[in-house]
């Protein structure tokens, strides 16, 4: 008797999850169709590629911070960390003349290290994530300026560096749709992290920590160590974001980055991940990042005045999350 009930509700849960993703996707489609109707220029291949390109950096950052948000934390340092990773890459590639691969490793390593530090502030020193990463945000912002002497580092001497983001492996195969590598990287990372979240121990503890950290601890799991690992992985992903932006600008711009964290977090929440932890998907985050990019680009293509762009963006963020809420309440 009870078993059958249990089953049906579990089924319900699963149906709910699929529905949710489909519906978030629906918001995206509604936006795309709306903009296409309003201005036929929106639907050009070149503009769609521009949107994807614009989503790539924010998307990668959002994927990184999704991990942390699922643990019930938050990371405000991702914007300036992205910049700091770009700067460190500039240092090894341009100043030290290291080969490209070293630059890639540096970006990811710097991100992971910084993530590890944030993680230990949170896990070991019990500093609330908001404050720990706010502090890290300021520290990393300052460090980028200090290391570069406040001047951008250009990658002109590293041929091929700009291809990391701007080149197109896909275009090599399908010339009609030259998806930039930056976008390819976004999707590869999304796939990878999605897999980690759903299939691996790290993923399991990410959800478990966000769901009930005390229970995880009482189960004899070294919760602190796992939390630090999760922050480090998130940092490494942000490092990839640093590579992407540096490659796109063919330079490391030391003052960039502040404010990017809020955009990334907005993408995560629009994608249905709960800020109270325990729940979230990478697919959702990806869709969230695309919604943000479509919105920004679409309003610009429609030549909406910039101050109105701000208002409309704010309103749509609220509406998108509200729609998500309604959806979720509907079955319960």
């Amino acid at each position: 008797m009870t078993a059958s009930k249990t089953d049906s509700s579990a089924r319900n849960g699963r149906r709910g999850a699929t529905q949710q993703k489909l519906l978030a996707f629906a918001s995206l489609i509604v936006l795309v169709i709306g903009f296409s109707v309003a201005n036929s220029n929106f639907m050009q291949v070149s503009n769609l590629l521009a949107i994807l390109q614009a989503a790539s950096v924010n998307g990668v950052l959002a994927i990184g911070v999704t991990l942390i948000i699922i643990t019930g934390g938050i990371d405000l340092s991702i914007g300036t960390l992205m910049t700091f990773c770009a700067v460190m890459t500039g240092v090894v590639l341009t100043w030290l003349g290291a080969p490209l691969i070293v630059g890639v490793v540096t970006a990811i390593g710097t991100g992971a290290l910084s993530g590890l530090i944030s993680g230990s502030l949170v896990a070991k020193m019990k500093i609330p994530p908001f404050i720990a990463t706010l502090g890290m945000m300021l520290i990393l912002k300052g460090l980028s300026l200090i290391v570069t002497g406040t001047r951008p580092i250009y990658f002109n001497d590293t041929p091929g560096f700009d291809q990391i983001s701007r080149g197109s492996l896909v275009g090599w195969v399908v010339p009609a749709f030259p998806v930039p590598n930056g976008v390819l990287i976004l999707f590869v990372i999304a796939g990878l992290v999605s897999w980690v979240l759903s299939r691996t121990v790290l993923g399991r503890y990410t959800f478990a920590l966000g769901s009930n950290e005390e229970a995880v601890r009482l189960s004899g799991v070294n919760a602190d160590a796992w939390k630090m690992a999760i922050y480090a992985v998130a940092g490494a992903i942000v490092g990839v974001g640093g590579l992407l932006i540096a490659s796109r600008l063919n330079s490391a711009q030391p003052a960039l980055g502040l404010g990017y964290e809020l955009e990334a977090i907005a993408a995560v929440v629009i994608g249905g991940t709960s800020l109270s932890g325990g729940r979230g998907t990478i697919l959702g985050t990806l869709i969230g990042a695309l919604i943000m990019a479509v919105l920004t680009n679409g309003l610009r293509v429609l030549s909406v005045a910039p101050e109105w762009q701000t208002v409309v963006t704010g309103a749509i963020i609220i509406v998108a999350v509200y729609a998500d809420q309604l959806r979720r309440r509907a079955p319960g």
Partner: protein, 504 residues
Amino acid sequence: MTATTDLIRMEQIDKRFPGVHALKSVDFDLRAGEVHALMGENGAGKSTLMKCLSGIYQPTSGRIVIDGNEVQLSTPKAAQDLGIGIIHQELELMRDLTVAQNIWIGREPRLSFGRIDEAKLNADAAALFEGMNVSIDPKAPVSSLTIARQQMVEIAKALSFRSRVLIMDEPTAALTEAEIEELFTIIRRLRSEGVGIIYISHKMDEIRRISDRVTVMRDGSYVGTVQAADTPISQIISMMVGRDVDDEPVEVPDLSRAEVALEVRHLSRGRDVKDVTFSLRKGEILGFAGLMGAGRTELARAIFGAEPPDEGEIVVHGHHMTIRSPSDAVAAGIGYLSEDRKHYGLALGLDVRANIALASLGRYADRIGRIDEHRLAGIAQDYIRTLNIRTPHDQQQVRFLSGGNQQKVVIAKWLLRDCDILIFDEPTRGIDVGAKSEIYRLLNDLAARGKAIIVISSELPEVLRLSHRIAVMCEGRLTGILPGGAAQEEIMALATQREGMTAE
């Protein structure tokens, strides 16, 4: 059975919290292959002692000896590694994870690249439930389970450790007879396999049925250890409370002329409450019995507006009421004490006084919203005295109270609100014998003063002890209403009656 060797010896354990001396040089020992019951009033220190043994708290002083060696249990993991498993009094589950994921957290079967073998995980959990003779879907999210089923998951998790020592802190508080029987079967099997079991419960009959020895604590001190078989329950109780507890049976008053306080007609909500109709008179105590998941809690929440009903009418004192939220319900004079105090009953971070006042603040504030703290303090202290709430003072945060004392705070909150119609969902969950009879007396008094009361309880003796009439539910349907003195068999028949006949 190597009955003579001590598996565990705790000697002179002392534990101090700020303002509370929770354990005063307590001694305790456990042998392999025995069930050792730990008894004591709410706040006596039972959970604290067990937390010292499972690595959650470190004793302020004292020794813990396992297999003859003194040990330091500095983390839960350290205790686990020594073969000590615990089922916590307060549920500690990860609500967003599935049942199987909860059980094997930290011990996931792995494949290469840190992948989890999800199939094995679910199969292992299913096997575990099979051994326990319960049917829970390992893939169901824990948040979709009732408290009782969550409790079964906790038990399954503790069993999965195959510990040499298993601590059960009130495992049956949320269970009904059938599950308790299953649990006892499991306990007996474990005992025969040489596992040492520490069993904490406030249900006196269970002590007789399952335990070999009984250790009693009072006010953080060790009182004594006796053999369960040859010690009368009354002696154990007087060791616990330091006096005798008398328990007079219910006398059903004649209520046929009393005004009808609450009428519920054709109330339905989702799959959990189906077409429920009943009425309740002033001065009446209506007991609700049923198996786990029968829908009693859902019915109460629907009446209270916590989960507004899909269909049906609620009539209070002859007036139709539209109740869409708890504030509507309270305004209509209906109060509801939830079965889940931690999630729905208490603001754990606030102090005792604030929690007691939570539902009645408006009454103690002047026009500009200023609270009369002085009066509230007096009232809080009154309740602390009448309900015998163990707390250093009325400004202690509720989170630091023992489970049973937390429950008393919730009761105090509703007593202070003074609603005409009161729904008590598992009011004595986790409450000690002494306090239990206090609460029974209290409910009788309230009824005598003209309150209309619904008591939902999974303990049949409690329903029988309290109710003037007994409503029985099965699968969301009201299968029948019996008079106060009904026999247990009658109730069980209705509780398992799948095809519902119309009530009354």
